[in-house]
């Protein structure tokens, strides 16, 4: 039971950076823009967070700086992809590479010092409940923030007029433009939200999860977040589910190795990827439903006519 509880808690934590980055990308893609640069934005967020933290500012400002850093990075993508209408694939890939370089530059000299991580909350009463307390009420504040943001994104996309407008722009920017929506401006906002969320995911890595600076410390999580959005068929709930599944399978396979399961470690290491893809593809296999969720204008530049 103890093992299950600790694995459950570890899964939630491991999934948190993925959830931040993937929820952000989901909103970006729903507006019809494909930003492949999540990895770069996460790294910039991670480096900004550590930078501000080491400069002596409180953690909340460090996290804020990561959010701003991610948003600024995405703004560069926005200018290229939305204003100058460059190819979105190329601009996103450029951002991923740029972010790795810039974050390495910012992080020079940070690698030899550990970070005082953001500590888990202790909620009087709730945190002390046996089992349930450890499973749900002993996380750091950012984990709860990820739940709040999930609810906020779902509510925004499907329950507000602005969310409807955003989705309409992702489906048919020409029609949305024709009825008076500012397509480019809304896409800019979506892109910056995505950048801010990726920055938050990066900060979670460098300030909470593995509280230290190493270059390229995201180790591919940006790409996994990107894949989650696609395999989750652009549904927020499935993104969360996919992130948990991925995190849980990662921890499960490590557990399997540690107890000496007679399965090659290479097979176990591939398990999270295979399981996540298979499960998400299975639950998203209804083609008609898929087509409804897919933002039709994804990655196509928009030039207002007339």
């Amino acid at each position: 039971m103890d093992l299950f509880v600790s694995m459950f808690a570890a899964t939630i934590i491991a999934a948190t950076p993925l959830i931040f980055a993937a929820l952000g990308e989901l909103v970006v893609e729903k507006s019809g823009v494909l930003n492949l640069g999540i990895e770069g934005m996460m790294l910039i967020g991670a480096a900004f967070g550590i930078w501000v933290h080491f400069a002596g500012f409180p953690m909340i400002l460090a996290v804020g700086a990561a959010v701003v850093g991610g948003a600024l990075a995405s703004l560069m993508f926005g200018v290229l992809a939305l204003t100058f209408m460059t190819n979105q694939y190329a601009a996103g890939l450029a951002l991923a590479i740029f972010g790795a370089g810039v974050s390495a530059f910012i992080g020079r000299g940070f690698g030899t010092t550990p970070v005082e991580a953001i500590q888990p909350l202790h909620i009087p009463g709730l945190s002390d409940i046996p089992i349930l307390g450890e499973m749900f009420f002993q996380f750091d504040p950012l984990v709860y923030l990820s739940f709040v943001l999930f609810a906020a994104v779902s509510w925004f996309l499907y329950r507000t007029k602005a969310g409807l407008a955003l989705r309409a722009i992702g489906e048919s920017p020409d029609s949305a433009h024709a009825i008076g929506y500012q397509v480019i401006r809304i896409r800019y906002l979506a892109v910056m939200f995505g950048g801010a969320m990726a920055g938050l995911g990066g900060a979670y890595l460098s300030l909470v999860y593995t509280p230290l600076w190493v270059e390229n410390m995201t180790a591919g999580r940006g790409w996994i977040a990107l894949a989650l959005v696609v395999f989750a068929a652009w549904r927020p709930r499935r993104v969360i589910f996919g992130a948990w599944l991925f995190g849980g399978m990662t921890i499960l396979q490590l557990q399997g190795q540690a107890i000496g399961l007679t399965v090659p470690t290479e097979v176990l290491s591939a398990l999270p990827y295979v399981a996540t893809i298979v499960v998400l593809v299975l639950i998203s296999r209804n083609r008609e439903a898929m087509a409804l969720d897919f933002p039709t204008s994804l990655a196509q530049p928009f030039r207002p006519k007339g």
């Binding site: 093992l3 600790s6 570890a10 491991a14 950076p17 190819n87 694939y89 190329a90 390495a104 000299g109 940070f110 690698g111 030899t112 010092t113 550990p114 890595l205 999860y209 593995t210 509280p211 230290l212 190493v214 270059e215 390229n216 410390m217 180790a219 591919g220 999580r221 990662t250 921890i251 490590l254 557990q255 190795q257 540690a258 107890i259 000496g260 399961l261 007679t262 399965v263 090659p264 470690t265 290479e266 097979v267 290491s269 196509q300 530049p301």
Partner: protein
Amino acid sequence: MKRATRRDILKYGAATGLATGLTGLPGLSRAQEKLKVGTVFVSPLSEIGWTKQHSLGVEAIKNEMGDAVEITTIDNIYLPQDAERVFRELASTGHQLIFGTSFSHGTPMQKVAPRFPEVAFEHCSGIKHLNNLGTFEAKYYEGTYVAGITAGHVTKTGKIGFVGGFPIPDIVGPGNALLLGAQSVNPDITCNVIFLNSWFDPGKEKEAVKTLVAQGCDVICSMTDTPTGVQVAGENDAWSIGYASDMSQFGNGKHLTAFTLNWAPVYVDAAKRVAAGTWETSERWLGLKDDVVKLSPYNPDLPAEVVAAADQAQADISAGTLHPYAGELKDQSGAVRAEAGSRLSDGDIRGMNWFVQGMIGNLG
């Protein structure tokens, strides 16, 4: 609307490659009286870990030979296809001694070296040497054996944990030696093993260490290239053993020691020989005796007799009276791999793809 085609990607890829190549090589033509040394690093120049230890080797050349050398450093070259271009450019721009620092540099170096017979190539962790391509490698297992002795003394649960990048002989062997060192203190100690199947993933490394701690391991040795293992062990009140660099500042006071790599003697020796015109290809496998493998300062909380035991083992290994893989040595299934009184051959050590008895893990 313009779409990126395969051709575009190839074109731009080549252009960026060219640009980085050019910026990476300042001062293309200079008078030849100085010794020009080129080094290619596998990861970005960081402050701790594998590449840092190599950059200390390069610094040692600088300190030793001063203005008589000119050093070009190119970092973050991992893929063989990139490396080949970089090695060729270094060789054709007057560098007389070129270091490759990763196993993945092997194939490109073997391709480039024969075309520049007057240039000396040195490959760290290489397995194949040519007329002008020498190889050098550290006996990591000597370091882990000594570290294992300290682990054997401090463990209360009798379980230690080992995290490795990939299940290859260079990782499996040191893992085995870690346990053998611990078993020299108490033969009942076991070691749980996890492979990340990645050289670099701090997040996964964290989960691996937490998993090992949950299994009851109270000493963790993480043979990856980040301080994460040491840090997570410290957070969970477990002892840790660092790799490549001293990582004590991350260990929360629980860093036992680290088996560090000191490449300076190799770098300086090669540079001096090339300058004197006496360099010859050779295959070196260096350990405690050669000062290439070292133990970082022990944890101050370790009792004096433990430190004495570890120091004694270091001295004995250096003197050749103690060998980490001395018989009788059994594998996981209990089969005898080295008889009592003998030891594993060097070839067997370098190709080690099996676990010793007491290792809990699977090599597929």
